[in-house]
Symmetry: D2
């Protein structure tokens, strides 16, 4: 059997993905921050400015939201994408936003600097193929119960279509634990570093689901070799449309970036 395109076997050196001048997978750690969902133009611009000032280098925010219940807020759709574009125009921060439907991929590609594929869609193979046909980097979140091989093969679906700019993201797995929302499986960071040349980032917000654990687990992620973090942050966490238990304030984000920078330095990385 031939080695996967995404495997170290196929390519020894680390893949570095450049997005608007920011390098992911290089010596410097990237911090992507923002709200769970986009809910208004004013708010997303305000948050974008705030996370930029706190030190984040990219803006996250969902316009299409995968929700357990069909009756929960499903996102603003294209309007949300336009608001993200406005926030980018104001701040210069590149946009990371999710695509959930093959039919929206072109639309998301138009607005996003990085297209996110969510955990629930990690084995939505049609969606992966469509992401592979875009010209934008893809942030692929690990499924809640994905093995490392399934994760790499999901990335391969994207790569096989010709898009090799893929960022892997550990965001917690489902175990018997209930004290956190999911169980952050940090050992996958060194494991992936052995098996693939792709950059790996960590989402401590979704993994733990608890505000107070976002800081320590961010430090841990960087200490074991992650290339970046994706953090839910909001100017007013209590107003967050969803996931408010895990959303940190801008002040907390600032502290997180400062403290994590020290850990990054201790393992020979910058931020």
């Amino acid at each position: 059997m031939q080695a996967l395109k995404v495997s170290r076997e196929s390519k020894k050196e680390d893949t570095i993905i450049e997005v608007n001048g920011i390098k992911i997978g290089g010596k410097k750690i990237v911090v992507i921050a923002g709200p769970c969902a986009v809910t208004s133009k004013e708010e997303i611009i305000e948050i974008a400015k705030a996370v930029k000032k706190a030190g984040a280098c990219m803006l996250r925010g969902g316009a299409f939201k995968p929700r357990t219940s069909p009756y929960s807020f499903q996102g603003m759709g294209e309007e949300g994408l336009k608001f993200l574009a406005a926030a980018k125009k104001e701040t210069g921060l590149p946009i990371v936003t999710e695509a959930m439907d093959t039919r929206d991929m072109k639309l998301v590609e138009k607005y996003a600097d990085i297209i996110q594929i969510g955990a629930r869609n990690m084995q939505n193979f049609s969606l992966l193929k469509e992401a592979g046909k875009t010209k934008k980097p893809v942030l692929l979140k690990r499924g809640l119960t994905a093995t490392i091989d399934e994760f790499l093969n999901a990335a391969e679906y994207i790569a096989a279509e010709g898009n090799d700019r893929i960022i892997l993201c550990e965001r917690g797995i489902r175990t018997f634990n209930t004290y956190t929302r999911n169980t952050l499986d940090l050992s996958i960071v060194p494991a992936l570093k052995e098996k693939t040349h792709l950059p790996i980032i960590v989402d401590p917000s979704h993994a733990t689901g608890i505000r107070n654990f976002v800081l320590p687990m961010s430090k841990a992620a960087i200490a074991c070799g992650a290339d970046g973090l994706i953090i839910e942050a909001h100017t007013n966490p209590e107003k967050s449309e969803s996931d408010k238990e895990q959303t940190i304030s801008i002040e907390e984000l600032k502290t997180l970036i400062e403290e994590t920078r020290k850990v990054a330095k201790s393992v020979g990385r910058g931020m």
Copy 2:
């Protein structure tokens, strides 16, 4: 919060789904059988005849196949659907086949008597909505790590679009066990019977991944209240395109139906 449409609270009596004269969710147990994937017209017709003779009342077979690797056989697509139609024409058996992509839903709807949504797509919300817009019953497989609430909410995505003909299918969850491919979680049968009015069937083939366990787990499924079984069976299991470890022969299917009928009778059901 309002009760889900799929909940017992919304509707007390059991939903019975009629497909070409066969009732699912009524007193009689249904057995759906067939190969993992359709690979040729001759073969699928041969298998259809064989499973019918063995006692199955519907034919399963995949034209669109979700596969871990992008380099594995992805199914025959529309041609496979046409071969299924040919098998139906020969035998009268209604067809259960999977849709994986919103853009193929109309096509699958045209050929399928029951549209299957696979475990990996249980939270592919766009796909669920599209299935909800069809006129055909939907067989919704439980995700590998889905809680009972996530499972019911996934069904609700279909129901919310106006399609209330939904069949739930337990097909194993992912646990620490490795002696079976997945862990068949049969307790969900009585749990779902309490919470929902929808019929529930069990897939012991995917759940266990082991031929020898298909018979005993089929009996167990019926004993605890399942309304039916979906079984991988092939005239030549060794030639099965995928999943051959769990595919039973026609002879074994015949035995399974005979022996399971006795169990069905012992719990006051027919077959």
Copy 3:
């Protein structure tokens, strides 16, 4: 490596364990029933009479209770064993009761007809060795997270000391599920039947933790080949010292035995 004594490889024919004339592992299904814990002489005698009348053939009840908290009721100790002896004298029902401490093994051996090793102690190797030195059959419960190999090796610890009268018991594993207390892993019944000659019983009470699921899962257990059931039952479930959510009434036990007998018959077994 040599085959384990408990393996089919070492001994082809099923081991049948005879306890006071009752055979476990033979054609007839055994039902062991009783309260979680012994709390008074009068109560345990009353329950013993009631479960006997309902059709159970052995009495379960704990004198030494493993409890998560050190401040929960820890069982009556030797006094509880004496009350079990009194109940046996009144009804003739053999006693199944747990040993938790190597230092109590001789004491438990004196009163018990079958010595139970609980799930939390499945890899308490000192306790297993001590059980292996007794003259009484041992009921070994599967640990919450035990693989099939760990389970069989735990049994081997007992067999290696010279006691080959071991009954294995599936009682649920820990998974991400929370709708049941544990996840009943019934596929292990046919799997163990292949790998070992020892009898296998199922504990649907601890596995599900829910009264309403005890009946359907008992039927399922017998349907897939279990040799018996161990059921928490009480003359007054609401008064049960612990585990009351899963304890069934005597009336429910009677129904369970009647209905399960039909399933047993349908798979060629008696009760």
Copy 4:
């Protein structure tokens, strides 16, 4: 309900446990290192000298070994304890060693500076009580499937007997993952820091089961707030009696301590 003795509610300030002048739970990180099992006097002395020189401050090594199979090496027993004493005499390193049997507790207490309770015995309540009656600190390993409440209640069994010098140890949980032996659940470090005043250390060797992951996961453990590490190290890892895949060399231990020290400093700790 009254708060547990081990809870933050009962005692606000961190418990610092002093062992031969070394403080566990204070500002400085402790590193405990040594082989899985003691196999000879010469070897354990040689390893003790080597780990000391590499920077470790305590020696670990098993004289009583819990093994899945009864036919695997079960440890040297008292002779092993004597060899550990000899190693202590030579190097001054305090000894961490496991007790598995209530009847050996006095013996282990005599030789050990810290008595270890292994993961499989986390709910061996008799053993916990016996450890609670000793005068030595207890290192309590988390069970493979223990919830945080079960873990704290297990510690409470020890504390309830009057021994409040307890060190908690995260050593991996069992999940669906197979790329590591267990899944290191580092989020429990900040979670425990909130709930208990007891010190928390991490065992990356058993958690991952893979030599190459011991270093990155050690860094991560310290980054998220662990008070120490327990590491399997050997002068000749290939000769290690068991667990050789996860045992690091002395050279690797030296690097680990140097690199982890930098991370410790970055989070305001010393080593």
